[in-house]
Symmetry: C5
Subunit: 93 residues, 5 copies
Amino acid sequence: MILGRVIGTVVSTRKDERLTGFKLLVVETLQPGKKTGVEEFVAVDTVGAGVGETVLVVMGSPASRIMTGADVLVPVDAAIVGIVDTVELAGSR
Amino acid sequence: MILGRVIGTVVSTRKDERLTGFKLLVVETLQPGKKTGVEEFVAVDTVGAGVGETVLVVMGSPASRIMTGADVLVPVDAAIVGIVDTVELAGSR
Amino acid sequence: MILGRVIGTVVSTRKDERLTGFKLLVVETLQPGKKTGVEEFVAVDTVGAGVGETVLVVMGSPASRIMTGADVLVPVDAAIVGIVDTVELAGSR
Amino acid sequence: MILGRVIGTVVSTRKDERLTGFKLLVVETLQPGKKTGVEEFVAVDTVGAGVGETVLVVMGSPASRIMTGADVLVPVDAAIVGIVDTVELAGSR
Amino acid sequence: MILGRVIGTVVSTRKDERLTGFKLLVVETLQPGKKTGVEEFVAVDTVGAGVGETVLVVMGSPASRIMTGADVLVPVDAAIVGIVDTVELAGSR
């Protein structure tokens, strides 16, 4: 999974109908031990995340199936699955 | 998913027959908070997108299944699933 | 999908038997609006592509299933699915 | 698979319930023959790995299915599947 | 697929039991037309490859299923599926 920060929102009215009702958030990747914000992508929110929050994002086909299980297919390849309380890195860093 | 801009079209007559009828568009990745246009790739259009429009693109196997559901397999790994109205980034950026 | 140019061929006699009979081509990624040839990888050919041709390549698990459908599994993660006639980029580029 | 070093832990109380009970570890990629620590990501632990240990991580949908088999879907795209005893590189390096 | 060179071996006694019996090899990516050795990763061997050999590696979920077919799931995302005899690049390179 990827650590990220929610930095914005996307509005898209003309879209695949199976995306209707999902919040689309712009996420910037976080690398705690390194420079922040390497990549930006769009994820659907499943846990009520808001702009500015640090989040846990699952990527690829695991994201498309978690939304609905294997049978109903939603065109999603990134889903926010957790809001991060703390990230603790080993002392020596 | 990836934010992108449609920058061109691809014509391919000798292709896998299951791609017949799909519009093939060249998309440039957009990173609103950063430099524009990092990568280019080809996506099939499913929402009537045109050159110059900002779009939402799903990548990987979620793209191949959304076209037809799990049973019929189309050789696609990127599909445009939304035309973006607005991208709002947090004020502090 | 990725736009690429076929730049060579691979010969491998000691290989997974399910790859027998497939032409293995070295492909260089093309980014029409940018520097050519960023990455190189190997793809199986499904449309009769030759060295020097511009091709459309599907990547990841969509490639492995297009070869045979979902039941028979071939160890493939990149397949050439089209020979490109033209790539037209928006005038302003 | 990726060689990595566990460099920290993530705590997330508001998360997808199917992640409950899994240890979330921050992993830094290791490239033995090159610069250490190129990327950071989060993986679930399945073998009792701890901070500072060198680990073997499987990525993508293979990670989501190994947790539970194909039927129960867990939103995971990276799983630690081994604790590395030794990495031996060819002498000439 | 990726062209690579086997540069080492990994020993991991505390690992997912379904990996037992598989040889774990460190592979360095090869880009014949460009700088050698960009990335390093670990792949299971399925064709008897040894250190120093040039190999063909399938990545992602196609790798996890080729080991055993769709029903038995092995935590693998990279598998060596061929030992390369020759790579011929077009003359003009």
